[in-house]
């Protein structure tokens, strides 16, 4: 996700630890860092969440405004997700329009939310063919220590779950909670050497080859996947990722409630 030269000594140390199934911060291979969620932290947003995943920190806000539906889906609300890797979050992030990393991040999070049907967009119609609710999810990385994918997914999902449609503000009836049907959770791993490790930190990402992300829904079905990174994974490794995504996804779902 960024380019910084890591010392060979640090790289060797991480590799040596992994050979014994250990990690720099004392976690096991499949352990997720501590998740902290603060919802409704931004009053100007219609839904918001600030999420900490270890030292990685992400804020997401939802804005819901009336707008014109797309021609081919005249009765269906609009959902868009954007992400920015702002330079506040890491010395290697630069200001400017979202680059390919930010766009990939936004699209992977978007797919999980969209394909799981988390937001019931059919209930977002105001006047068929004319007016629907448009739901914008904006995600900002504030502090980057690896695994922005899962942190951003958690922040976006928690922000949506806390969102209220501000109907009164626009004279469209009573305010109601955004219709949410499920909680899609992504689980990202990276491959370092021949080991797949869950919830990588910055250093682990730097020396990794492949980065599979698997998003599941509440019943453990798969809703989105992405293999990022220049490396490859075997079919057996993929199978391991799928099993872990279901198991760890369920745990995380419990944590965020």
């Amino acid at each position: 996700m960024s380019n910084e030269i890591m010392s060979e000594i640090k790289r060797d140390h991480i590799m040596n630890l992994l050979a014994d199934g250990k990690r720099q911060d004392g976690r096991g291979i499949t352990d997720v860092r501590e998740i902290k969620v603060e919802t409704n932290c931004i009053e100007s947003a219609d839904g918001s969440a600030r999420v900490k995943l270890g030292k990685t920190e992400v804020i997401a806000g939802v804005k819901i405004i009336p707008g014109t539906p797309f021609g081919d889906t005249p009765n269906i609300g609009v959902l868009t997700t954007g992400a920015e890797l702002i330079p506040m979050a890491h010395p290697t992030f630069e200001s400017g329009p979202p680059g390919e990393d930010a766009i990939e991040l936004a699209r992977v999070v978007d797919r999980g939310i969209r394909e799981s049907g988390m937001v019931d967009v059919e209930k977002l119609c105001i006047v068929p063919g004319e007016e629907v609710w448009m739901c914008f999810v904006d995600i900002y990385a504030l502090d980057y220590d690896g695994n922005l994918f899962d942190a951003a997914n958690l922040a976006a999902v928690c922000a949506l779950k806390s969102a209220i449609i501000p109907a009164e503000q626009y004279g469209k009836g009573e305010n109601t909670p955004l219709p949410v049907t499920c909680t899609p959770i992504s689980v990202t791993e990276v491959k370092v050497g021949n080991t797949l490790i869950v919830d990588p930190d910055y250093d682990e990402e730097q020396i990794s080859s492949a980065r599979p992300t698997v998003t599941t829904d509440d019943v453990g079905n798969f809703r989105a996947m992405q293999k990022g990174g220049r490396g490859s994974i075997t079919l057996d490794e993929l199978s391991l990722c799928l099993d872990r995504a279901v198991e760890i996804g369920a745990e995380s779902r419990k944590i965020i409630g």
């Binding site: 030269i5 890591m6 010392s7 060979e8 000594i9 640090k10 790289r11 060797d12 140390h13």
Partner: protein
């Protein structure tokens, strides 16, 4: 040997704070405005004879000639390497300043990207251009072990009065430890011991302000590594 420290209490000051209004001279990280000495960085107020200054709590490392530093190679040219030593600017290491005879364009055979090196700062000019050398006793490419990064302002705490803290660390953990003035520290030893040494160094950085720090670090290491032999306080090797 009971030399009382000149500073009474560890008073934290921030930029703009008045350090003295009674005619003392400004020391490091201090300036004079309307006859009053004021702080220019956040840190601990420090009185030395007739001067008052500030010992910074944080901040970026600025090299001084003669400093021993640990750096990482971040770029390679045909006749030099660029070394990240944690300063605002990378330091060029010229082929004439390494102990090997390097042909033009053959630099990467000797030092590659990500290699760690122990260097000395040769010179820093007016515009802060840095030159470093590997041609002095002990300077070398570093291999194996661990690198720990702490704030350079805490380096003096890791070494402590005439090296008491660092020799205790070395003795109790049985590790080889090299401290760069830039806050990069190399630790090498048996895995379990090196883990403890790294934790102890981080603890020194975090609790640099605490009283009886040496005692606390000693207790910490003892709790992690039961000492087989009696720890000898006087072994003052560096």
């Amino acid at each position: 040997m009971e030399k009382r420290n000149a500073r009474q209490t560890r008073e934290i000051v921030v930029p703009g704070d008045i350090l003295d209004g009674t005619g003392m001279k400004p020391g490091e990280n201090a300036y004079v405005l309307d006859g009053k000495v004021r702080a220019s960085v956040m840190g601990v107020r420090n009185v030395f004879q007739n001067t008052v200054g500030v010992i910074p709590l944080k901040g970026c490392y600025m090299p001084t000639s003669g400093d021993t530093v640990i750096g990482v190679i971040v770029d390679i040219g045909p006749s030099n390497w660029l070394v990240d030593i944690g300063a605002p600017y990378p330091a060029p290491l010229h082929v004439n300043e390494v102990p090997w005879k390097v042909e033009f364009g053959d630099t990467s055979r000797y030092l590659g990207m990500g290699n760690a090196v122990l260097l000395k700062v040769l010179s820093v000019d007016e515009s802060k251009k840095i030159q470093v050398t590997m041609k002095d006793s002990g300077l070398r490419k570093i291999e194996g072990g661990r690198l720990v990064k702490i704030s350079h302002s805490k380096v003096s705490r890791v070494i402590d009065k005439s090296g008491s803290m660092i020799s205790m660390l070395k003795n109790m953990t049985d590790c080889r430890i090299t401290v760069g003035q830039n806050g990069m520290i190399w630790v090498d030893g048996d895995d379990e011991n090196a883990d403890v040494a790294v934790l102890a160094i981080k603890m020194i950085e975090e609790k640099a302000q605490a009283r009886d720090l040496t005692e606390k670090i000693k207790e910490f290491i003892e709790s992690k590594l039961p000492q087989s032999e009696e720890y000898d306080d006087d072994e003052g090797e560096e």
